[in-house]
């Protein structure tokens, strides 16, 4: 699992590549922790190359969303494949996030 965070067009973008399974949660959570401090910018979670997401991964996404909303920011998800989208639909998380 590889996580890259960079600034693009005034937004903070996290590019997620690989499988965010239970084993990958701790390192991904640490890699994405700078997003918890983002204020005044929108956050984009680029899931184009994310192959799978576990409950732990959903919790990381949720933590980032709650942190951003508390500061008046927004979180968008882009480029989900069908498997990841299916997880979001089954868990009702599809009703929580905004998608681009």
């Amino acid at each position: 699992m590889k996580t890259t965070i960079q600034e693009q067009d005034g937004n903070m973008v996290a590019i997620l590549e690989g499988s965010l399974d239970t084993a990958a949660v701790p390192e991904t959570e640490a890699a994405m922790s700078p997003l918890l401090d983002v204020a005044g910018k929108d956050i984009i979670l680029d899931c184009t190359d994310l192959q799978y997401i576990s409950s732990g991964g959903l919790r990381i996404f949720l933590g980032i969303l709650k942190s951003a909303q508390a500061k008046g920011g927004q979180v968008f998800i882009t480029g989900m494949n069908n498997d990841v989208r299916a997880v979001f639909a089954m868990t009702g998380f599809i009703n929580i996030f905004k998608f681009k």
């Binding site: 959903l58 639909a89 868990t91 998380f93 009703n95």
Partner: protein
């Protein structure tokens, strides 16, 4: 000294005292504002605007030129610091006044309720002015309280020169009075309407709670009240038990247009929709989650699957499923994939063979 103003020695002395006092006045304005802001927040009173100012030297000099002899010392001038609160409704002016009475000392001798000063056969449209002092002492300050419409009236009459030095002909004064009367009526009607709506809301909530659901039309307000009863909790808990999942609460109001699109017209219809589809929605969820280890769900899971099952049982098929996702999450091409996925997951479930 301010331009174009001629003050006598007494006036100049008052200006000197004002300059000395000015830093304390600035501090007073901020402190009075903060105390009132905090008290309003604590009482949950939302106002359209709240402002504070220290009278400028130019403005004070103009006042002293006109009636400087009236004031023995700078302490006699009560509007050096001014706070203005603009509320939405006329009854909120009284609430703000009650709060001001609680947190400040009011100088009743100099306070004016201009709303009560009018002759019976005349209209006027003014605000409530209190002369206050902080409980900790210090100079007095003026607190103006008015509604948004009173503020509009005040601003516009000032702009049109109603209070200027030119004598306004009687016919125009009468037109001002007619407008003021109309504004008072509008203010009162807004307050009355708010009370009527609050009463209606309470009635509906009471009907929902007492179970007279078929008498309650489905609307944003009634659906919100119905959600207070947590009608999807039971199914959500049953679903969560499949994987011992935690449930993350989310707003369910976005589902209202979906329920309306099903032709549900009363809260009773919604209750029947839940009763008739719960078992099948549970079966659909089991077919989705049992093969996963997903142990976090949003509280929209039950309602989402109730909607999907309803569509399938009504023969809505792929188009109907996609329409549900389009309504809740906005139209995207990915919703077609989700519709396909649901069709596949539901294909072998009992309700699909009985529809």
């Amino acid at each position: 000294m301010a331009n174009n103003v001629n003050l006598d020695a007494h006036g100049q002395e008052l200006i000197r005292q004002y300059r000395e006092l000015r830093p304390a006045l600035k501090q007073l304005a901020t402190q009075a504002y903060d105390e009132l802001r905090q008290a309003l927040d604590e009482q949950g009173i939302y106002v359209t605007a709240m402002e504070h100012r220290v009278k400028t030297e130019h403005s004070l000099a103009g006042k002293l030129e006109l009636k400087g002899a009236k004031y023995k010392s700078i302490d006699d001038i009560t509007d050096l610091v001014g706070l203005r609160i603009i509320t939405f409704y006329s009854d909120e002016v009284d609430k703000v006044a009650a709060i001001a009475k609680r947190i400040f000392d009011i100088d009743w001798q100099d306070s004016v309720d201009k709303r009560k000063l009018h002759e019976l056969d005349a209209f006027g449209y003014n605000s409530l002015h209190y002369i206050c002092r902080l409980r900790t002492g210090g100079p007095r300050f003026e607190l103006q309280m008015r509604t948004a419409l009173q503020h509009v009236w005040s601003t516009m009459t000032h702009d049109t020169g109603y209070k200027g030095d030119v004598k306004i002909p009687r016919e125009y004064l009468r037109q001002f009075s007619r407008l003021a009367g109309m504004m008072e009526l509008i203010d009162d009607e807004f307050s009355r309407l708010r009370l009527v709506l609050a009463d209606y809301r309470r009635q509906i909530q009471s009907m929902v709670k007492s179970g007279k659901l078929d008498e309650v039309p489905l609307s944003a307000g009634t659906f919100r009240s119905y959600l207070d009863l947590q009608p999807f909790n039971r199914l959500n808990k049953r679903i969560a038990a499949v994987n011992q999942a935690e449930i993350y609460p989310v707003p369910l109001m976005p589902f209202l247009p979906v329920l309306e699109s099903f032709g549900l017209e009363t809260i009773g219809d919604v209750q029947r929709f839940i009763d008739e589809n719960s078992e099948d929605a549970y079966q659909l969820t089991v077919s989705q989650l049992a093969i996963t280890d997903l142990d976090i769900l949003s509280s929209s899971t039950a309602l989402q699957n109730l909607c999907l099952v309803h569509v399938l049982k009504q023969g809505g098929g792929h188009a109907g499923l996609k329409a549900v996702f389009d309504t809740i999450n906005g139209e995207t091409t990915a919703n077609a994939m989700l519709a396909d996925m649901i069709l596949e997951q539901a294909a072998t479930l009992p309700f699909m063979s009985h529809k």
